[in-house]
């Protein structure tokens, strides 16, 4: 007996004896059946409670459906969606089926929160708050984009069409398919490779970077170095990971992540307390309260939003 049949039998109150017995057998078969029977039966005994069942607006749904099937308005819809995205930030999914028709270079901006965008070649870009990515061409030959701010890239491999991210004047990163983090905010320029292989073109040179390597402009020239696995992706992953890290370093790092001033007392600075822990970066208050439990950190929050970290006790 399927559920549809059960519903109908319960609704038809005057079941024949045979039907009643079948229904009884059915509901006793499994715990799940009993649950279903009871839900349906509520309508008979006490009236069913369907608070969780919502009313969606069918009219506006149909309107949106109509807009999406009218070919003329398609490009307009995409344009509007892109505009909305620029205004509001947030997620935006490009419909991959329409990539061949839409070749208008897009702009992506994460205005108020970290936002991930799908580019029409299948690559994805996560932009940190306040960062901006602009497509410079329609991706038919080289995939050219320009970045201002910080972003994590996951590039779809395409040997025919290298992906180029233009940074400061005359500097760009070229990749064939890989993932990496870039900062280019006018003051700092840094590239960290998470997987694969990228090339940084700067000052007339080509610097090759593979997994675990980073390059950064330090006092005018480009320096390549091995990147320690630290929290450089915390802005994207919303986690801060520490392994046997001195507490003063942990606190400085947390302050930097939340862009919040933490004043550390001498006790903290001199503490030989090391910490191994993973934090979800919901709020600085939450992390500090977790820390106060872990290592008996005592601190006060000041009116200007900064924190004064006073004391610590660790085993």
């Amino acid at each position: 007996m399927d559920i549809q049949e059960v519903i109908l039998r319960i609704l038809n109150k005057k079941e024949a004896v045979v039907e009643y017995q079948q229904l009884k057998d059915w509901k006793e078969e499994t715990a799940e059946n009993l649950k279903i029977y009871q839900e349906i039966n509520k309508i008979v005994e006490e009236g069913s409670n369907i608070k969780d069942y919502k009313d969606y607006n069918v009219e506006s749904g149909y309107k949106r459906f109509k807009e999406q099937i009218t070919p003329k308005s398609k490009s307009w819809m995409m344009y509007a969606a892109a505009l909305l995205l620029i205004l509001a930030g947030g997620y935006f999914m490009l419909n991959k089926n329409t990539t061949t028709e839409s070749a208008v270079p897009q702009e992506y901006l994460a205005e108020t929160k970290v936002s991930e965008f799908a580019l029409n070649d299948g690559s994805s870009v996560t932009l940190n708050v306040g960062s901006e990515l602009r497509e410079l061409s329609d991706f038919s030959k080289i995939r050219n984009v320009e970045l201002k701010g910080e972003a994590f890239f996951d590039i779809t491999p395409d040997k025919e069409k290298p992906f180029r991210i233009h940074l400061e004047e005359g500097t760009f990163v070229e990749v064939l398919g890989t993932s990496f983090n870039i900062i280019n905010d006018g003051t700092n320029m840094q590239v960290v490779v998470e997987s694969g292989h990228v090339e940084l073109h700067a000052d007339g040179k080509v610097i090759s970077l593979t997994k675990g390597y980073a390059a950064e402009r330090v006092k005018g020239s480009i320096v390549k170095y091995r990147k320690q696995k630290d929290n450089y992706l915390s802005w994207k992953n919303n986690t801060l990971v520490y392994k046997n890290t001195p507490i003063a370093t942990v606190l400085t790092d947390i302050g930097a992540h939340f862009n919040t001033e933490l004043n550390l007392s001498q006790v903290i600075l001199k503490s030989d307390c090391n910490l191994s822990s993973t934090f979800e970066t919901k709020s600085i208050d939450q992390i500090l309260s977790e820390l106060s439990k872990l290592v008996q950190l005592s601190y006060i929050k000041k009116d200007d939003g900064s924190y004064s970290i006073k004391d610590i006790k660790c085993e």
Binding site: G47, K54, Y56, V58
Partner: protein
């Protein structure tokens, strides 16, 4: 109903939109994503109507499973507006005999919701006070200035009527 012409498709949309959104919401836990997924399914059906051939009586299952697949796809792609990791992993692992995504139960709730709207005003009021607000018959009687017995009679009438209405409404989805 022939869903391959505009009028028929509008009927199909009206019949299924709300229940499919509720179904998608059960998976995604977000109203906007739920509506996006359902609209996407309707767009897909309409755009491919020439090539889609559905057996008599299978349209319902086809719609529900399309919504389910699209919703799961959205979760896997990670391009979802909110994240409810624990909920997703629970729902992706849910066994096939789990009733939480049973389409007939969703249709039953949809039919019930529509049927309640068709009750007479007094019956509806009593029914909603009893079931949604959880008032006792004494409280309902007090609130509406009727006696307890009358309140109980209204409830009984509402339930009796609902049995018929729900059965009728369910017929909408039998094609």
């Amino acid at each position: 109903m022939n869903w391959k012409n505009e009028e028929g498709y509008r009927e199909l949309f009206n019949a299924y939109y709300n229940v499919l959104c509720n179904y998608a919401f059960k998976i995604l836990k977000n109203d906007m994503d739920a509506e996006d997924v359902v609209i996407e399914v309707f767009v897909h059906f309409w755009s491919n109507k020439e090539s889609i051939n559905i057996e008599e009586g299978k349209l319902k299952s086809y719609l529900f499973s399309s919504v389910k697949n699209k919703a799961f796809g959205l979760i896997r792609s990670g391009k979802i507006r909110e994240t409810h990791e624990q909920h997703y992993s629970d729902i992706l692992k849910a066994k096939s005999d789990d009733s939480s995504l049973n389409e007939d139960l969703f249709l039953f709730r949809e039919a019930l919701k529509r049927s309640v709207r068709q009750l007479s005003p007094k019956s509806k009021e009593v029914y909603l006070l009893r079931t949604q607000n959880g008032l006792t018959f004494e409280e309902i009687a007090d609130k509406l200035g009727i006696n307890r017995r009358t309140a109980e009679n209204h409830m009984a009438a509402a339930v009796k009527k609902l049995r018929l209405l729900v059965k009728d409404t369910l017929k909408l989805f039998e094609q």
